[in-house]
Amino acid sequence: MVNSGKLAGLTRELIALRVAQELREGMVVNLGIGLPTLVSNFVPPGGEVIFQGENGVLGYTGISEEDFDPDVINAGGQPIRLGPGASFFDSADSFAMIRGGHIDVAVLGGLEVSEKGDLANWYLPERGGGSIGGAMDLACGARRLIIAMSHTNREGRPRIRKECAFPLTASGVVDLIVTDLAVIEVEPEGLLLREVAPDVSPEDVQERTEPHLRRSPALRDMRL
């Protein structure tokens, strides 16, 4: 499978914005390092989405570079702003929360996702696997797992594949994939194309995706 030229898909910020639209008041949400951390900045103020950092915090509202307090960070080491009702706890309690099914949504970055919902996001063959962090725990433990990533890699190779070639983070765990080109639901019957980015056609998306995409009867453009 070969790519068919560069498309003007969503920026990282717009991917984060689109993911933020999946979140509702009262949901407990963990954001992985990298692109996913941007999501907290796209939730409306006072929206009361409860962000969890696996380093031991609940109820932060966004990233803030002002007044760095080394003791008030998210799992990416970034300084965070606390919202009303925030709380702190240790790593044992934090991962009990994650692994016990108390996180409504986890948003993680991805290297590859298979049509069965397998996720590979921690091991790059050219660099080895030098960091797992909480990805395997979040992938297994969250009630709903959203992967936010670019649709293809730098060489234009599809990241959405029949089988993951890279070592897995967890199998059969991904619920939704949001990329610069599309929003795709992982269903027991396979992948369902729900939305395409502005100026991107369903055919463009399929060309850059290894497995077959069924088209949702309600297929539409993303509203951003």
């Binding site: 950092g53 696996e54 380093n55 760095f68 080491g77 240790d90 030098g130 960091s131 962090g133 897995l168």
Partner: protein
């Protein structure tokens, strides 16, 4: 009168021998016992097995690679996924001069808790069907498959808290908790670096994150600035 306060980090580390297994609390900038790590560097202790969440991400633990004090590291983050500037740890690792055991973070903390709580291990689904399963026993309980994860313990735990009293009671601040309270339960000798020594009456019994019974030595230090640069 119980008094666990010692004067200097060097004195706190007086019996840390070559070949020791040491847990280090902290999550990058929060709750990292950087003064104890720097004292360990000065001490020159060799063939250390280190157990910590992260190494080589701008944190102070990387200094232990300057003179190859580390033989092995058990961690969840050790090498930047994105490339960029190499940490000293990564350089040693690429030359096969240090061993790395990478553990999913939830499994990491649960193994340490098991070590501290006298459990023989726990059953988890994290890591099933991945490289994290390699060499581990699986068990089917009531029709569901699990990995058996075994306890982790250490000779020493170096931890960091906000305040302590002479009895070793510790109060943490915000996300400075992370692995510190759990590691304090799972080592033979627990040494706490704190920003402030308070009187026993000052600390609120409701706010104590690690009861003094877990802590052997307390040393007050100016906190060292650390920041993730990954």
């Amino acid at each position: 009168m119980i008094d666990k306060v010692v004067a200097t980090p060097g004195e706190a580390l007086r019996d840390v021998q070559d070949g020791a297994t040491i847990m280090f609390g902290g999550f990058v900038s929060a709750g990292t016992p950087s003064n104890l790590i720097l004292a360990l560097q000065r001490r020159g202790t060799k063939r250390i097995t280190g157990i910590a969440n992260n190494i080589g991400l701008g944190d102070k633990l990387d200094v232990l690679c300057e003179k190859r004090q580390l033989a092995k590291f058990i961690a969840t983050f050790a090498i930047r996924a994105s490339g960029g500037r190499q940490s000293l740890f990564e350089q040693l690792y690429r030359r096969d001069e240090v061993e790395l055991e990478l553990v999913p973070q939830g499994t990491f903390v649960e193994r340490i808790r098991s070590g501290g709580a006298g459990l023989g291990g726990v059953l988890t689904r994290t890591g099933l069907g991945t490289m994290a399963q390699d060499g581990k026993q699986t068990l089917t309980v009531d029709g569901t498959e699990f990995l058996l994860e075994k306890p982790l313990r250490a000779d020493f735990a170096f931890i960091k808290a906000w305040k302590a009293d002479r009895m070793g009671n510790l109060v943490y601040r915000r996300t400075g908790r992370n692995f510190n309270p759990v590691m304090a339960t799972a080592a033979d000798v627990v040494i706490a670096e704190v920003e402030e020594i308070a009187s026993v009456e000052e600390l609120d019994p409701e706010r104590i994150g690690t009861p003094g019974v877990y802590v052997d030595r307390v040393v007050q230090c100016e906190p060292v600035a650390v920041r993730w640069d990954g």
